[in-house]
């Protein structure tokens, strides 16, 4: 590698590539801290397909739109949620609930983009997901593994957008066992021979193309990947070492393991983790389909909140539970509900989020389209960023030379704790 310049330049280059973890730790391991002093992380439990607000956090039992879903009381006085979530109900006092989210996107891909980024899809500019913004605005030090990780299969994962591909999440399709593509095909002397040959070949190529080859950062990326492959922090991707009781509490499902891995990654210092649970696009058989997913989500979410609290990580970790939109109040002839971006629900907990708050309300008769106290997806982004200690009003210059705010909304009044 031919690269010249001062230590500062090297630091800047490494930071820009997202390989700052290759550098010696500049200060004590932030990951070891606990409580409020810890750098903040974000766990997003993504309910792909558009979860019905009426079957989750905003039921209307006994009404024409409520269907057979029953409601149960929670630890937030006066608030009921769907009875499929008894364990979450016992812990809801740690959360706040928004029941009046509004988006203008009723298509899965566009809706996912809107909620993940806080912006509508724009053909000219690709916006970064919240997780990418957090990794960009609060880069970790001493971390060998990527700062933004996505767990589970997801058709429309978060992206680095205008921040660049290096802020795309590291995707693990089957969480709980190991990271993706981390085990070399060979090892020992054979792997050493391969790497020696590769480095020699790259030096040969760079010999008469020094500056442009250096700009590719090809060998920096290689060395960063190799460092990641041998990092002790990779253990965070596996739940094998976790006690059976803990694994059982999260649930022996891909999503349950993903939530447990998310907690382990937060402990390691990862900034943002998306965990995806599919199966909420219930155009038909909404109630039975939802009940099956609720069984998975209820246990995993409850275990995650307990675990984060027990380990004194909840104050530094924002947990967001949402999907791309909600579902229609009306029940269609197939016993399903269709897409509904006009008043849907999400849960927020941890970090700088105040607990026990309920924002907005939807019409129990389903006649009014707009909810009370509507919260736009841009407001949700601003709220999450504020709870993470990020200046949501900050403008970043995009590659097009157009300044764009981190979030184009305002934090929801009352949701940010002092």
């Amino acid at each position: 590698m031919i690269i010249s310049g001062s230590r500062r330049h090297v630091l800047a280059a490494a930071g820009g590539l997202g390989v700052s973890f290759m550098l010696p730790s500049l200060r004590a391991r932030a990951a070891a801290r606990r409580g409020r002093e810890r750098p903040r992380s974000l766990i997003t439990l993504w309910l792909a397909g558009g979860p019905s607000q009426l079957e989750t956090w905003d039921p209307h039992p006994g009404t024409a739109i409520g269907g057979p879903t029953r409601a149960i009381s929670t630890t937030i006085p006066g608030l009921q949620i769907a009875s499929d979530y008894p364990r979450v109900a016992e812990r809801l006092g740690r959360f706040s609930v928004i029941r009046s989210l509004v988006s203008r996107e009723g298509d899965h891909q566009r809706g996912t983009h809107a909620v993940r980024t806080g912006y509508r899809p724009d053909p000219v500019l690709s916006y970064p997901a919240l997780g990418a913004l957090l990794a960009h605005q609060s880069p970790p030090t001493g971390l060998d593994i990527p700062a933004y990780v996505a767990l589970g299969a997801d058709a429309f994962p978060g992206r680095g957008g205008y921040l660049g591909g290096r802020f795309d999440p590291y995707r693990v399709f089957v969480p709980g066992f190991a990271g993706q593509n981390l085990v070399p095909h060979t090892n020992g002397p054979r792997q050493d021979r391969r790497l020696t040959a590769l480095r020699g070949l790259d030096m040969h190529f760079a010999a008469s193309r020094g500056v442009p080859v250096a700009a590719t950062l090809h060998d920096h990326t290689l060395e960063a990947a190799l460092a990641m492959m041998s990092s002790e922090q990779l253990a965070a991707f596996s739940v094998v070492a976790e006690p059976a009781a803990v694994r059982s509490a999260y649930g022996e499902t891909s999503f349950g393991r993903g939530c447990l891995v998310a907690r382990r990654l937060v402990e390691a210092g990862v900034r943002s983790i998306d965990v995806t649970l599919q199966g909420f696009d219930t155009h038909a058989a909404n109630f039975t389909s939802h009940a099956a997913q609720a069984t998975i989500l209820d246990g995993a979410l409850a275990a995650l909140i307990d675990d984060l609290a027990d380990r004194d990580l909840l104050e530094s970790t924002v947990v967001l539970v949402t999907g791309e939109f909600g579902r229609t109040p009306q029940i269609n002839p197939l016993e399903g509900r269709d897409h509904w971006p006009h008043g849907f629900s999400c849960l927020l907990a941890g970090g700088g989020i105040a607990s026990g708050r309920v924002i907005g309300a939807t019409d129990p008769e389903g006649r009014l389209r707009e909810p009370e106290h509507p919260v736009t997806v841009a407001d949700l982004s601003a709220t999450v960023l504020a709870a993470l200690g990020i200046d949501w009003q900050r403008e970043l210059m995009t590659p097009l030379g157009r300044p764009v705010k981190l979030a184009d909304g305002t934090p929801v009044v009352g949701l940010i704790s002092g």
Binding site: D107, H185, T221
Partner: protein
Amino acid sequence: MPQSFRDLLPLIWIVAVVGAVVGSVVAASRSTLPSHPWEVEPPSQVTRELAARIDAVINVQISAAGLEPAALAEDVLVLRRMWLALAGTVPSVEELRRFEADSRPDRLERWLAGILADRRSADHLAGLLASALTGNDGGPAFVFRRDRFTSWLADALHAGWSFKGIVAEMVASTGLWTGTPAVNFVTQAASAGQVDENTLAGRVARCFLGIQFDCAQCHDHPFAPWTQTQFEGLAACFATVRISPLGVRDSGPAVLRIETPMASAGAMPPLTTDPDLKKPFIAGRRAVPQVPFGQPWFTGSGSSRAKLATWITHDENRRFGRAVANRCWAIAFGRPWHEPIDDVPDPSVEPGESDLLDILGCDFCAGTGDLRQTLAAICSTAAFRRASAHPGLNDPSRAAAVTTSWAAFPLSQLPPATMISAMIQATSLRTIDPESPLFVRTIRFLRAVDFMREYGRSHPHEPATIPQALVRLNGRLARELCEANVFSGPGRVAGLSQSNTSRLDTAFLACLSRHPDASEQRMLIPLLEAGTPARGIEDLYWTLFNSAEFCWNH
């Protein structure tokens, strides 16, 4: 008699293997078909003259920067560039051997014409254009069929349609997205059953005019002369579009009620709701079809979309030609003449010989409109055939000038689709093309889908990400492709070559399209000598696939 289906499995396997072998032999026997690259007539004298005019512009730039141009690259490396740029893969060992045996003085010109006439080129170019014209996302469900759109584009390009005609079809067609694939250009902007006129206006401006004025949807452009009224007029050209289960049609008055700003998901202005279209509009705001310049070209008897198509492709619309030229330049060189690719500088009052985009654009507008002719001219330039190595590229104070003056061929990262195509081709000694057996093409397709799902997107000038490096280093596909067995290219290289020198040479040709030099032989022969031939060749292919030289076009 066999007792169960399981008893028949060995027989099925034998039939499958025999069928595959016979299929390969049949495919190989077709090597006399006249569409092969080495059998096509070279580009015309007109193309060569156009290339010379382009080189004159670039030579002035290089001299002005006080530089000498890089030496010409080896012919095989130029051939590699042509395949990567125009067909999205590397040449096969079979093709490289044939090229090296071709002693005609104009062999590069002939092969260039041959590549452009190859179906693989049409497929690749169609994929690039489809991404530019409709974006990379999946698009609206049901009404948008990217596969049909891309396939139609490939057919049109392969048949030599004028790009003007292709654009006119895309902008103005009516019909079903499956039966009339051109309408997918319109249905890409469908949302909730109706088309978003603003998305289409922005797309038309960027792709066909080289104007970025999406911002004018909400306000006048802050530092260019484009206004919100102009944008709304362009969007209004699509106001009559209706989408139904029967397809795209034009209906109703050509008046656009102005929707709320699109970029922000935040605060909303006062709205009213259109009872038919169920979309929120700003009360009282309306626009009628109009174009931001060249009013006399906006004519015709059809719909406002048809008039728009006539206007875009009018011979005097230099912005169209310049936008096409800039995109073609990016296809060939991996980066556009002017960046960003869809924000092309305004043309001067009169076309000039010092403006490369005008030279190419005017030739395109005045000619047949076949994109392949423009691409042939660009790939026939000396600039395209220069080496990517240059003495100034080791000097940080001069490297930028070398790059910006096009004194050397620029490095650009292979797009994921090209990278996987190149890896698959490199591990097959025979050419993989539409004549390959069905199972070969099916396996190639499935592998490509898996790879791109995992690899994600990349930008030509951005470094690869660490997860992308991990896919190449440790991914399952990389392991399978490098594996030396009786069916694989690496296995055949290991088994059939007589020496490690020969193995190294063949692997270099397959992966890097060139022969190793003496220092590389000294460096890499030990890798082959360390274990069995099979293990050694696996190590070598793995090394080559992960090298900067393989991952970056150069």
